[in-house]
């Protein structure tokens, strides 16, 4: 836990220093400490350009990893990511529709957020109407897959009708995810939503442990499983939808980072959830720093997380010699 916090602080410092406009870590530190500097551009570069991105990366990475960890515990399945119930494709559809209609940035974000929520609400209500006689977890996951497929098709439809000169590239870039255009004033709303979603999840850590024995056993141990599950779904959806609305589709963080947290801190969710948040923050911050510095033009961060996440996941699978996760 301490190590993870230290890592995050290091990542913040590195990210402050690296970029097109060179700043030494010493300069950055002394400026942050005193507010005084000889360089007139330093303040602009650090506060107006880099700080919002750093905050966004910390919040988004941490939130996605936290939501992923909570879902993996709840579904008793280490292969689950926070978009299992369709929040990503719903948000993608919302954003694509807003871009097609030429809404401003705030409109795109609101539409993405709403799309994500609607997708999950649909998935949950499908599972409820089908529900009862079947294995409820399985039905929920299947409903999520159905909704994801549906919204992906709708995104394709929008792309097909979008103007290939202007709208189509905008949609495509949005879907790849980026932290490039984030401004300070967009952050408070996302921060509040992420906080509102994260706290109840972190506090439910102990009960999530019990859920990993399965629905019925958790019940006989005295857990109101339906209530706990709705709490986790609501919180994780709120978190994921607001993050996606802010920075587009950033995959893999929510799938891979909880595994690292579990390897380092064990399966107890009371430790694993906050640890996932910290590690997710550092990871996304690191990736975003790479995304904006590796080449002259910015690389969409969704590409970087996928390019590094995939081989990394293979390594984790290989390292896992035990039968269990």
């Amino acid at each position: 836990m301490l190590l993870a916090t230290a890592m995050l602080v290091m990542a913040v410092l590195v990210s402050f220093s690296i970029g097109r406009y060179p700043v030494t870590p010493a300069d950055a530190l002394s400026f942050l400490a005193s507010g005084q500097t000889l360089d007139p551009h330093l303040q602009t570069v650090l506060f107006r350009i880099r700080l919002p991105r750093i905050i966004a990366a910390i919040v988004a990475g941490g939130a996605l990893a936290l939501a992923g960890a909570a879902y993996q515990g709840m579904f008793r399945n280490p292969m689950v990511s926070p978009d299992i119930l369709g929040v990503s494709s719903g948000a993608g559809f919302g954003a694509a529709l807003a871009i097609l209609l030429a809404l401003p940035v705030a409109g795109v974000q609101a539409s993405a957020f709403a799309g994500g929520l609607i997708a999950v609400v649909l998935a949950v209500s499908i599972s409820r109407t089908v529900g009862k006689a079947h294995n409820s977890t399985l039905v929920l996951v299947l409903a999520g897959i159905i909704i994801s497929a549906l919204f992906s098709a709708l995104v394709s439809l929008i792309k097909y009708t979008a103007d290939p000169e202007s709208r189509l590239p905008a949609i495509t870039f949005w879907l790849m995810g980026s932290l490039a255009d984030i401004r300070m004033q967009e952050l408070p709303a996302v921060l509040i939503l992420v906080l509102a979603g994260s706290l109840p999840v972190i506090l439910s850590g102990w009960k999530l442990n019990l859920l990993s024995f399965g629905e019925e056993e958790a019940k006989t141990l005295g857990i109101h499983t339906t209530r706990l599950r709705m709490l986790v779904i609501t919180a994780a959806t709120l978190i994921t939808a607001s993050v996606i609305a802010l920075c587009g589709l950033v995959g893999w963080i929510g799938l891979v980072v909880p595994h690292i947290a579990r390897m380092l801190g064990g399966p107890d969710h009371r430790l694993q959830l906050p640890l996932s948040f910290l590690l997710g923050s550092s990871t996304l911050l690191l990736f975003d720093t790479i995304a904006r510095t590796i080449s002259a033009s910015e690389i969409p961060i969704g590409i970087i997380t996928a390019l590094t996440g995939a081989p990394f996941f293979i390594v984790i699978l290989k390292l896992r010699t035990r039968q269990s996760w």
Binding site: N209, S212, F213, E216, K219, G266
Partner: protein, 268 residues
């Protein structure tokens, strides 16, 4: 908690099962005391697990009622019910590698608040239970890496941590080697002596005799209840329940108490 002088679970005219038109157990009128040992015998698919799931509040009766101390079972909140009835499912495993101590601590959850975390009292209770079941040496081992017998004992420890009055065990010996089966039966006898009620499904009629338990025989949607194992373990009854020839023989050896054991008739 619900208190009364003679705690018991009562089923009134209860149809149990999953589909109304085809209940697995029909018109059950039965009073099960929440003390002593009761073994549940019957062929596969006669509704042993269905009965247990109904008693645990996981399955509502299709018709009729189940009451616990005269109070309808389905009106008791899950967290309160867990303080009264604990469940030991058949051998299983979890996908995440918890330590033994943690698994047993999960049984304490019913005594914690909504965002509850284990406290000092919970840790003391877990220590005591591990000690009683002689599991202290396994405390820091990983649950998923234990043998089947050890896992079964850990899950029993978890159920005991609930401090429930009735323990329901679903074929607890089915995946155990002979030595572990004997150890498990000894543990069950000890728990019953200490005042915990035991309701246990088993495929070994001998267990009823060994534990001097009441017997609930399930057969084709109906049941027979005996408060003496001798009354239930008759060759004709067992033969008709299992649909296979079973003899019951008395064995006596010099200097040892006599015993009645079941012996299947295999003639070929």
């Amino acid at each position: 908690m619900v208190e009364s002088k003679r705690p018991c679970i009562e089923l009134h005219n209860a149809d149990l099962g999953y589909r109304k038109e085809q209940p697995l157990l029909q018109g059950i009128n039965l009073t099960l005391p929440m003390q002593g040992i009761c073994t549940v015998l019957g062929q596969n698919g006669t509704g042993k697990t269905t009965l247990f799931r109904s008693l645990l509040g996981l399955l509502r009766p299709l018709s009729g009622t189940i009451t616990l101390d005269q109070y309808p079972l389905h009106l008791i909140a899950q967290q309160e019910l867990a303080k009264l009835i604990a469940y030991v499912p058949q051998a299983h495993t979890t996908p995440f590698p918890y330590r033994v101590e943690e698994v047993v601590m999960f049984g304490r959850t019913t005594h914690m608040g909504f965002f509850g975390n284990p406290g000092r009292k919970d840790r003391e209770a877990v220590d005591q239970i591990l000690d009683m079941l002689e599991l202290t040496r396994l405390r820091d081992r990983i649950y998923t890496e234990l043998s089947g017998g050890e896992r079964q004992m850990v899950i029993i420890a978890r159920a005991l941590a609930q401090e429930a009055r009735l323990l329901i065990l679903d074929e607890p010996t089915s995946s155990l080697d002979y030595g572990n089966q004997v150890r498990l039966l000894k543990t069950i006898a000890k728990l019953a002596r200490n005042g915990t009620g035991i309701l246990m499904a088993t495929h070994q009629p001998d267990h009823a005799m060994l534990l001097q338990a009441n017997v609930l025989l399930l057969r084709k949607g109906t049941f027979m209840y005996y408060d003496q194992p001798d009354a239930a373990l008759q060759p004709e009854i067992l033969t008709s329940v299992y649909g296979a020839g079973i003899d019951v023989i008395d064995v006596s050896q010099k200097g040892k108490p006599s015993a009645r054991i079941c012996r299947p008739i295999i003639d070929c």
